[in-house]
Symmetry: C3
Subunit: 269 residues, 3 copies
């Protein structure tokens, strides 16, 4: 996928979402053990096909045939980190788009080193919260998986990462910032319960990968996935009693979200 | 458990389901990290007792005391594959029934080799979709965990596997085929949302294992588990808004399904 | 945290719960692969911040900055057991409270040895069912994760463990017994569906850890977490159709439970 300086429109997002529905991209997920079930459920609800292939024996071969690859650095172990490296190398050779989610980068030494090694290999998209983007860029890290820095404060770090590595940076927060070089697309959909359900951010990374497999460019892919998940969250919150019932409702609404509804409701600023 | 050429009746299924309820078999699950929580929830809803013992230090010893063992090949790692081998060896020695779920066999080289090694040891039941059964039997594999071949096309492969290894093959699809030698039992219950929720097939494998612990034979066990899950799916879909709310409803309905209702509603063809 | 001989009141429980809400303790969870998602969801619903850092490279460093640490012995593997040892050592040095959940202790040799090694290091709280407490104390173990011994029969073992290691023992069952030396606090809230949803006991261990981070003492922490989860269970069961819908409702009710409601409803005997 090439990057383009022109910004995606709401119609582009609708078309990308339609592509996920109709082409059912096969998304290889090398992710953490907390997020596996919810990530797979999100991909299935969206119409994509998840495959959690994260061992060193198979990860590289599978990255050559997958439609896209997600590399999430949560709960790393020696074998799964080796598998992530092999998957990235194979994805690069095969031209498979891949997404990096640097969970807790900056806050923990080992994974920060791995995250910086991988981002230098040029993912299509980096997805993280403010703390993680700051940590990956070299700033002070957060206290783990939750964001303690505001999205705005990390915007400069996102721009720098994007320019240095040629990738889109999807900076998650109350306002989502999708950054490509000097360009920024903002989306302000969603609901606070998104932060009260585990692995939603991780699932968003997988959904970005699914969109990368069918989108015209990585910026449209990141924007489509972000808009789809946050619009579905608005619908789900409206009919939920709390964060527990919100989680299955989010899957229902993601499955029910049409390309037309996404294009009609997404506000890009 | 011995196999018999006579086919199970709906009443046999009801009796097997009653056995799961009243005897609460202890099912050792060596399964993938995506499916663990949902698999355990399905077993608990059915009245069985799950135990996820999948390390090489303990897997063999536990297989000697478990009521049944599930060996699922998703997300294999070196240590868990070693544990699966030890569990199978111990189950065979102790006469514990065991079920093989060859996730993505045929599509990925390492696990295909492991799957073929294990199926040759004679599981009570092999459970898989069409791609996996074809892949295990030596045909062309699928693209991962979802079925890209029709159940019918895999029926011949299932027959061959059954005859070669003396096991029942539970071939999942829109119509479920339960194969023993030349005999086939067909069940056509269920709902498309079963394919939009992750790990339902994996959970079915565990439920087959639970039924193997109490059934008169492996064919009745496979038919009981399949009928229970797919009938519960029909009930769950009727009161769900999408695949998200369908998943917890499936557990509710599985817990509520009586032996009488199962025997009265299951249509075996 | 020091222990005190005076028993917590319902008002103490309300204050501890308020502390979890307002201070959002960072809880490092080294837990099993079945329980990760539900455990994180429970902590988020309660207002705490989960971080599943369970590899040997990072576990020790993180235990020095975490508010509390949960060490759960389910699904152990060599690397995660090493990480648990390192986390406990670091927690002790840093004075971080830590909770031990000896899943299936007594029933499986390897983890029983690990559990006995760790309990001798003086956790703030040990949480387990009757079989596990008996198994840890040296009695006959159960058949896995479910309790086959009554809470009362394990009370003497709990007292002995508490006195020998200076820890609170939270003995889960239809009546929960929170034991410190010769003192026992009893709570009899809850619902049978708590035993039909996987990883609820494991999640309770994590919630105990969250409460340890903010409570005046470990006994109040164990009582607060137990009361919160079991009172939320009563509310959730009242509006659920079965164990499937009970699980998300439990999270809703845990999120909705106010410190005032907890203090007003908890009956300590």
């Amino acid at each position: 996928m090439s990057v383009r300086p022109t910004l995606p429109t709401a119609d582009d997002l609708g078309r990308t979402w339609e592509g996920v529905r109709s082409r059912s991209p096969l998304v290889q997920c090398l992710t953490n053990v907390v997020a596996t079930q919810r990530t797979a459920d999100v991909l299935l609800a969206a119409g994509a096909a998840p495959a959690m292939v994260d061992n060193p024996h198979e990860a590289g071969a599978f990255a050559r045939v997958a439609s896209a690859v997600l590399v999430n650095l949560g709960t790393p172990q020696d074998a799964t980190v080796e598998a992530k490296r092999l998957a990235v190398a194979a994805a690069r050779e095969a031209g498979t788009p891949w997404v990096l989610d640097p969970v807790a980068a900056g806050g923990l030494a080992w994974r920060t080193e791995v995250a910086r090694e991988l981002v230098a290999l040029g993912p299509s998209v980096v997805r993280g919260n403010a703390s993680e983007v700051l940590g990956l860029a070299g700033g002070a890290g957060g206290r783990g998986v939750d964001a303690t820095d505001s999205a705005e404060s990390a915007l400069e770090a996102a721009r720098e990462l994007s320019q240095r590595h040629g990738c889109v940076v999807a900076l998650s927060g109350p306002v989502d910032h999708l950054v490509l070089g000097d360009e920024v697309v903002r989306l302000a959909h969603g609901h606070p319960w998104l932060t009260r359900v585990t692995a939603v951010g991780c699932s968003l990374g997988a959904l970005v990968a699914a969109c990368c497999a069918v989108a015209e460019d990585s910026l449209a892919a990141a924007a489509t996935a972000t808009a789809a998940l946050t619009l579905a969250a608005e619908d789900a919150a409206a009919r939920s009693a709390g964060p527990g019932s919100f989680a299955p409702a989010l899957l229902d609404e993601l499955a029910a979200l049409t390309p037309e509804a996404l294009a009609g409701r997404a506000v890009l600023a």
